[in-house]
Amino acid sequence: MPIIDMKKVFLLGHYQEREQIFNLLHNLGIVEMVDVKSSETWDEFQSYLEPGQLPENVSQIDARRSDIRYCLDIFQRHYPIRKSIVEQFTGSSLDLTADQFASYLDSLDQVEEIHKSCCEAEEKLVSIRNEVIQSQNLIEDLQPWSALEIPLELIEDGSYTVMGLYTVNAEQYPALQDTLAANISDYFVEEVFPDQDVVHFFFSGLSEDKPVIDDLFREKTVTRVSFPDLTATPAESIKSLHEKLKILNDQKRAILSEIEALLEHRPMLMACYDYMDNEHAKHQATSNLGCTKSSFLLEGWVPVPVLGDLETAIANRTETAAIVSRDPNPDEDVPVLLHNSGPVEPYEVVTKLFSTPKRNELDPTPFMAPFFFLFFGICLSDAGYGLILTLLAVLISRKLKLEGMGKQLVTLLIYSGVSAFVFGLILGGYFGDLINLPPLWFDPLEEPMVMLIGSLGLGVIHIYFGMALQAYRNIKAGKVLSALYDQGFWFIFLNGLILLLVGFPFAGQWMAIIGAVGLILTQGRAQRSFVLKFLSGLLSLYNITQYLSDVLSYSRLFALGLASIVIGMVINAVGDLVAGSVIGYLILVIILLGGHFFNVIISSLSAYVHTSRLQYLEFFNKFFEGGGRSFQPFRAKNSYTDIVENEEG
């Protein structure tokens, strides 16, 4: 079975041995913990338990963990570890041997000190940044006044005169001048910086006129500008501010180099973070337990095939822990673990990207895999491209240690390249038309209709297969009649129509009629009244459009297959245009290499997404619902580091 059966396990042990057993489970990584409080018998034994409490050191671990995280984030902010394009998809981690990891953990007590230096450095950086922003703003404010040659501290109201720096909207300025002239006898105005929108000006007048001046200014929305802390002319101030910025910049660089000096601890911190994180997870998990003073109870899900491993591992560790297991109840939320063997396994990634199956549902992976293989090949259909795709995927899987879905995806691409290679031989595609070998079967450019009909035919098979799987599900669920009504009649009806289409009028006609009558009679069976039954039965025939559009959708196989070949031909033709001279041949080589590489990537991408789409929308919707929860065992999870085998030599 592709979906692994799960058993619910109950582990009862001595409280003192709790940590030991937890470490064991954490290392094994085969148990998904369940919160005991969600157990159906919780109410019965709740009263026997000690009130749940986190072990006191959990908050301590958490604090330490976030300290380390803080340092690493600071490092990352100022001296980021760049990821390559490939790593952006796969994630990157630091490879450490178990010994290195352990030796880094020995320096765990240094963390506090490093954290302290990091905090100090960061604090200083923040205050420098604030000062820089302040100075920059001040420079910006001073800039318009730089033509003013009066020291700023002298601009203040005296006993007989008032003076100041002002700005006003440029449109208001002429009017302001007029009103000033009309209302006050003695004053002085100098435009310092006539901007397009705002006029900056110096104004001085007599103290006795101050109330009038204030009123006039308010009326024309004149704003007073002051620089309280500056004591030189604006131009001099700007100069000294620039010098200050330079000093601040030097300070910043000094602090950054302090941080840089701490960088040597980065691998150690990464290792410690992962260690702390896992410790934290272990302690968190204890909150899922039911504990009394001297015992604890753990509940979890374990895949049946590894249940024996768990039992022996526990038995080897301690003699005083009891482990019981039972089959899941029908209404329990059982996690789902897919297990497909051999060549089907990588195709799980396609299913998982759609949805994890429900527990009692069919895993569609093994049924979908052959079609995925086939369709991808048809979409790329070039022997050269297939070869390159496979080689690239092999190279990636060699270079990077991938796990889980990433590994599955790369393996899937290896197979897909093989499929494309085979279809390239069949249809005669070798880097477009670069190598002119006759196709094993036919050339889609010469006989496009053969390929189009072939694609649609494959679609019909694919759809029928999906219907058959739904029929199988119905029969297995004891709903034999549903299988007949919902799939059987459609099957007869559709086949009748196909026979009509390809020229068997007699058989086609009768099959179509039988199918249609069957559908009209049965599809409304959920309705109550007779009229409604009949009407919904009749209406259900409209679903034929759905089947029609599903089948037509497979024409994309043909279109994409053709596209990848013809793009290859375009590249070759462009290369042909420049060939001739020595330089021409050089350019030719560049065009061919770059162009075909580009085409491999872009055509493989479309092949992958369109093939997936055919599975998701045309195939899965016939029989697959999804919506299951995937199995997430309690196990070591590293964010920064990766433990590798000790290197030889």
Partner: protein, 156 residues
């Protein structure tokens, strides 16, 4: 216009309109992507992949243009005389991909622009965002199909 010029108008429309669709679509995605990169530079690879998706319409257009040019003898060694009605047939052939390429490129770009927002929050769900975008591309593929079938159906 002689037959050949009408046919070349078709080639130009296919390349130009489908290419515009791709250019606009890629542009839209690029704007969103650049916004995301300002927050999280490590998503460059993923966003680049998404940005490349609306490029296919332009490729289909180029492919159509190339097939027309080859058929009427602009590229290659054959010299062919094209009658006016054949020329119109080539022009008609170019229309499906020219029209659908333009609109599907733009709308695919919009969907992917939202996908960029999606991966900003949940990078693991990128596959689903791509599936949405592929739904839009379907019609460019169908248009290409119609275009190619018409092209192959023209008697020379």
């Amino acid at each position: 216009m002689e037959g050949i010029e009408i046919a070349l108008l078709g080639a130009a429309l296919a390349v130009g309109f489908a290419g515009s669709g791709s250019a606009i679509g890629i542009g839209i995605v690029g704007q969103s992507a650049a916004g995301l990169i300002s927050e999280d530079p490590d998503k460059f690879g993923q966003t680049l992949l998404l940005q490349a998706l609306p490029g296919t319409q332009g490729i289909y257009g180029l492919l159509t243009g190339f097939l027309i040019m080859q058929n009427v003898g602009v590229i290659g060694d054959e010299t062919v005389t094209i009658t006016t009605s054949q020329g119109y047939a080539f022009l008609m052939a170019s229309l499906p991909i020219a029209i659908a390429g333009l609109s599907s490129g733009i709308y695919q770009g919009r969907v992917l622009s939202s996908t960029i927002n999606l991966i900003a929050k949940r990078p693991e769900e990128m596959g689903k965002g791509i599936v949405y975008a592929v739904m839009v591309e379907t019609y460019a593929v169908f248009a290409l199909l119609a275009t190619v079938l018409i092209l192959f159906g023209i008697d020379l």
